[in-house]
Symmetry: C2
Subunit: 344 residues, 2 copies
Amino acid sequence: MKTQATSLDVARLAGVSQSAVSRCFTAGASVSDAMRNKVQEAARKLGYQPNAHARSLITGRSRIIGLVLSALENLYYPAVLERLAKRLQQDGYHLLIFIGDNANSDDLVEEILQYNVDGIVLGATTLSSALAQRCADASIPVVLFNRIMASGSAGAVSSVRSDNVGGGRDIARFLVAGGHQRIAYIAGREDSSTNLERERGFRDGLAELGQRIYARAIGNYDVDQARQAALDLFANAADRPDAVFVAGDLMAIVVLDTLRHELGLAVPQDVSVVGFDNVPQAAWASYELTTFEQPVQPMVEATVELLQSYLRQAQTPPSRNLVVPGQLIIRQSARQSAPRSCLL
Amino acid sequence: MKTQATSLDVARLAGVSQSAVSRCFTAGASVSDAMRNKVQEAARKLGYQPNAHARSLITGRSRIIGLVLSALENLYYPAVLERLAKRLQQDGYHLLIFIGDNANSDDLVEEILQYNVDGIVLGATTLSSALAQRCADASIPVVLFNRIMASGSAGAVSSVRSDNVGGGRDIARFLVAGGHQRIAYIAGREDSSTNLERERGFRDGLAELGQRIYARAIGNYDVDQARQAALDLFANAADRPDAVFVAGDLMAIVVLDTLRHELGLAVPQDVSVVGFDNVPQAAWASYELTTFEQPVQPMVEATVELLQSYLRQAQTPPSRNLVVPGQLIIRQSARQSAPRSCLL
């Protein structure tokens, strides 16, 4: 075992009080530069480490936020992880990573709770009502990132998501305004709230303009299945769609490549493609993908604000579901407008 | 404050010993299913949480590994993070994330040490010799991922990296075998060990075949600078390179897009492009990038093995620098062979 110097040893060597040593190692505590230098020098000489774990038992704060993610192949999450980690780091918190699958993450949350985390962000999965209630009972705030609980579930779980419904509707309007008349949809995971909301907004937007989804296939947010969905929808040249809304950018990029390089179609001349996310790769010159932006930084800020508001209170306040507005990013993968006569 | 049930409360309610309760909440401990069910039911009724922090003070193990990353825009690191997190999770460890810049990360490591981590993986930066020594003194293993300490530095810091030198040499041989005679290089960060090694191998490989780097620019592993490097190298049609090795895949993708979409060059007919990493996007149909693979899973396994071997021992063993072999992945972005006469 390591033998470790204590804060008392440091205080003695530096000639200061033990509480001064403590303040020097507490983020945001008031302490003079001279004091800090003296204490840090003594701490270095003795190899003293203020133990964040021991401190958490005293203050009740671990300064750890658990984050559950699934596959980072989804091009949207690396930026979320990076910005969330950076933002929390500014406040002295750090993310502890748990990799889950797309199913319910009750087992993982049990494991997370063992780390005495100050909060949990679920970026991959949802939670059972029972476990949500357990977290609430333990005063541990839980924020779902870009998903919501199945309707009717209890438990005080908050959420932050982009405007999936509004985005779906905007894309429907954009494609109809572009003169498209055979507009297809490639769905993500059919039980995910992101897919349900995007499809609902898309369907409603088309209906308001007198159209309906012309053809539909399921990509499941998966690269291979998205390719197969494109092949299925566009196999028959006679009745193929003239536009397709794909429920996520990674799938949209795969669809675009499949249309161009496997089926020999020109995008956007033969078919328009629109995605959802605005991942960095959507802007690459080979794709120039028109897409609806899920704004990472505002969503991260909203997540941190929810966590912080809970951490400032003894009791967990009522859950809140925040929707962050996004916008359509128009690039080159979809025709932008029809001749004026078609708009009538 | 929360009032929490203790393991003694759980033991009483379940009618078992306190050590049985402890074993039920220790990964890998031997315990019967019946015992586990009994204890878990009692724990649930009481809202009992075995506190990993409290346990770390007893066992000296936090089961936390600190990971320092910089920008995840680098397309290689999301996969590394995901697989490393998954692999450690199997053994009951989790990654605590710290976002650093590309400079020395001494300050961050001071912060990491406060969490009483069992180990540190540096994926973004390097470390001063002094701080490396402090980690060694505290028996905390440090593994540099895909970089090495500047030569001559002391301190027991291990590293895992891909075969950057061998990869650079293989790419030189491949391009010369393809009949290229004006082979350019676009460098990453010039002070990074990855760039230094790749360029050294590339230069040596060309020299062995009687060539030298025809033209050189610096992309700094940055999207905007990589684009500018391509514009600079290929501005003059009269003496432009017929091939370019770009020191990382993200830069190579940007270079490829710039050549095709801004300069109107055909790849590989007018110019061959080769990258380094084999990120998932290199396989996308719009790029089909020939590249040297840094094999993520073997590098992750090597990292975990180094950490585990240190965790099993009371004293930190001598540092080791592991090189994981990779391979050239041949796709369509570079001409593959010259007419036979050119090979003589």
